[in-house]
Symmetry: C2
Subunit: 593 residues, 2 copies
Amino acid sequence: MSKQRTVYCGLVNDELVGQTITLKGWVQKRRDLGGVIFADVRDREGFCQVVFNAENLSAEEMEMADKLRSEYVVEVTGVLNERDGAQINPKIPTGRFELFAESLTVLAKSKTPPIYIEDDLDADEEVRLRNRVLDLRRPKMFNNFKLRHQVTRSIRNYLDNLAFIDVETPYLTKSTPEGARDYLVPTRREAGKFYALPQSPQLFKQLLMGAGFDRYYQIVRCFRDEDLRGDRQPEFTQVDLETSFLNQSEIQAITEEMLKEVVKATKGIQIEEAFPTMTYAQAMNEYGVDKPDIRFEMKLVDFTDFASESEFGVFKSAVSNGGQVKAINLKGQADAYTRKTADALIDVVKPYGAKGLAWMKVTSEGFNGPIAKFFADDNSSNVISERLNAEEGDILFFVADKADVVAASLGELRVNLAKQHQLFDPNALAFVWITDWPMFEYDEEEGRYVAMHHMFTAPQNANPEEVKENPAEALAQAYDIVLNGYEIGGGSIRINNLDMQEQIFDLVGFTKEQAEEQFGFLLNALEYGFPPHGGLALGLDRLVMLLAQEPNIREVIAFPKTGRGIDLLSNAPGYVENAQLSELHLNIRSQKD
Amino acid sequence: MSKQRTVYCGLVNDELVGQTITLKGWVQKRRDLGGVIFADVRDREGFCQVVFNAENLSAEEMEMADKLRSEYVVEVTGVLNERDGAQINPKIPTGRFELFAESLTVLAKSKTPPIYIEDDLDADEEVRLRNRVLDLRRPKMFNNFKLRHQVTRSIRNYLDNLAFIDVETPYLTKSTPEGARDYLVPTRREAGKFYALPQSPQLFKQLLMGAGFDRYYQIVRCFRDEDLRGDRQPEFTQVDLETSFLNQSEIQAITEEMLKEVVKATKGIQIEEAFPTMTYAQAMNEYGVDKPDIRFEMKLVDFTDFASESEFGVFKSAVSNGGQVKAINLKGQADAYTRKTADALIDVVKPYGAKGLAWMKVTSEGFNGPIAKFFADDNSSNVISERLNAEEGDILFFVADKADVVAASLGELRVNLAKQHQLFDPNALAFVWITDWPMFEYDEEEGRYVAMHHMFTAPQNANPEEVKENPAEALAQAYDIVLNGYEIGGGSIRINNLDMQEQIFDLVGFTKEQAEEQFGFLLNALEYGFPPHGGLALGLDRLVMLLAQEPNIREVIAFPKTGRGIDLLSNAPGYVENAQLSELHLNIRSQKD
């Protein structure tokens, strides 16, 4: 008959010393020291050393103890002892204790596991994902999920206290043409009809505001059938919230306080200062990206004015073609680069469209390097030194090209160099708000404007006619929240006015019929007293990844998919029975079709 | 410039009297009493009467007030007053207050809404669903969602305190052949391959136990493509939990305490007594169903032994054909039935296969009714009266047929009569555990055993060989929790032993190859120290429906689907672009195919 567990292995403590307790867990390792058998027993909270000794155990149990192997599941009862000084293992929290076993039950045996159940496992990710059950036994992994739960718990507590109400919205919804590709779900009830899995509950949460729910939240799965990157998955989790009657700064304040609560709950750190705010224009200008990592400086500095006067042809022609010249200063790292290694950094910026990367070192005798000769005069020297705060030992990098290429290239180089030279505290959490987003960007390929945030975002200008007249200049009541160079969330004030919503649909190229067909239910609802409203969505996976200091979101998702959307554990997706397809009125096109 | 809301309309209170406050909400109704305009302003928490008076407002604002119509969204600032005695409206909690408006802003106008925003709305459900945004404005609806949130919040708090960890499992999973029909999600990455939406996270939660997570929960959406009934939806929400190292009674105790917490948090009722437990056999025997409503008695009483000796041919032949005779006693309602209305109750039992329904009234002169003559002797009279506790004024109903027909027919009649005659307190919450379920039922159509709970449920007998020898008799370590005649949850101890799992797959007719193909990842994991584990899942929608005393789960789902799986608001599912189908390698079969 099984006994109840007294305590998790990892939580044995002084109060239990001298008491008879029961532990249940996995054998981490077993050692035989002259007939006394030592086993480290592991559970999700940590380890406890168990001592099997012929004095306390039957011959049968000693034999069992002798046969223990890694990952056997055991139940052990015995007296908890404090170890003698020399025996203490200072590396683990329970290193001062050991359990003298008085009974042993093997609850499950194990073959030799294909991967080591250790934090510093050096296994291929594919092997880990195929053996995810074992991979998740590594203490580090469990701690990631504990952290994730702490995050959601603190978010829920915070929002519950503010009278937010958690409402579930449908997963079987309608496909919409804008945005990313939908995952579709065929219905057997009518040939050719499909549900779509939601890319976000955007419209449903707006409708809940129309319904007077006032403050909504949901921690909800979202789906996008896109090509996957390190921080993307086909399904991801969003902390989704929406409020009525609040303006942008009120919604930002609620979000900011929520994130501070999360940091406090998970890291024990109380962030006192307000998160800095930056306009989209400033972020693009100074950091080259809309999600600046402000844990370090190294801002992009503009030399366009100066470059047009310079004698360096590359700069001059870039400017005369309507381009820009910008630079960053990698402080004090000149000696880290040879001509060859500095030149090699072109590979960092090339994928972003830059055709060249110019650089100069700052020495006691002035600039040094391939382009130094063009800027040897006092004026050049002064302008460059002043704008970039250049001092001896620094190395300066320049890109001259179209504005978007300069931004993307130097933005990437900046982050790349900062990582390489560890220019920031890896424990730092640098939040920043990005505001004043453009309403639209022009899609050259489609020859039309597309909404930069989404089609339900309210412009700062409340006059539909003025927005229509100059869409390129229209700014949105939108805000992103960025952490350590990752966009972790974004939101906006939404349109609650039928005229404006119709105007925006028109601007992005919807006919009245298309707008009605796709969003008739929203347009209809806007006619019946729709309150001012706005909200925000946070990417939970990314937030947890950053708090856990993990390199990708698969480390904080229990059963993630690979870059090709495959679950290596169950081999989903898979083929299905022909009868299933038949019920769904589907045929598979041969690859030739 | 908009002011911040001071308080919800429904929460104005004594402390605010005399203060200048701001309310935001919807105009419920407007009355003009000799130039003074009264409006009831509504928000999610209730109503507040607002008084617009020329003394306090500009001519422009008075004009605006005059033009207010139902469902206009307004912001009103003014001084909260206590009403004079005669003016008090005792029907609403804020009936002692009124706001003297000093400023008015119309935030949104409204056309005349197609449905009344009132609790006692008498509209067709289809009209309500098409106008769901307005329908959800009815106070009753918001209160349902507030209740739902209270339920999930109390469940989360309870489980969090017991060291359960909330882990998200995938929604894009693999299709499995057993159980209900899967919703499929085609992938564009490989023609003919599909994900399936999960019918439950069953295997994932078991794998998390294999991973040592020890205590898991999730409030999670599940999907079943079945024909829908009043209490079914294509997507539904499950409170899913799983534990390691606990036995059946420990898991039941945790669940029971959790449900008591929910009742306490939502109803303020502390249930002191332990939930009663009944075996499956007893439930079927005494109530005719596996989810007995024990708010009232009227148990099924067996007369098979007695009937075989009786002179009533129908009873005799039913028994001699291996059937049963059972009866229920509707106490004190004999006078409620004429011969015609009593005979008409055959319509209640017919759909359950009964070919007849016999009945007798108990009068001061003995039994009365069509079959009374067969049971007029003293012995019959005594046996019947004793077993059914029959007294003057009662009416007795008998069904003679195959055991399953008797059970289903009388089980249904019992519930039907109880509702009709209001034999129970509608506020009662009668929980009951159903235990000792059979492992298998024999599927005549498929000619094989199928798992009654699911294929991962552990039998009470730990010996695979013995289970194999007599599957019909094997009992499961399974338990359902029933509330007021609805199954609100069920669970089991799972198999953590490879031999047993392979045996069960074999018993339900899987070849080794099929088992490997479908569940290889589970079988593999069972080889590496898989702990004893078990859990349970609660149907959240149904639980909330019962707590809200609503007749169907659509009342506690914000955006439900109709019986044909249609979202009447957005008209999902819908047709999609041909390009989408092409990317997914799909053709639609014409209806002729």
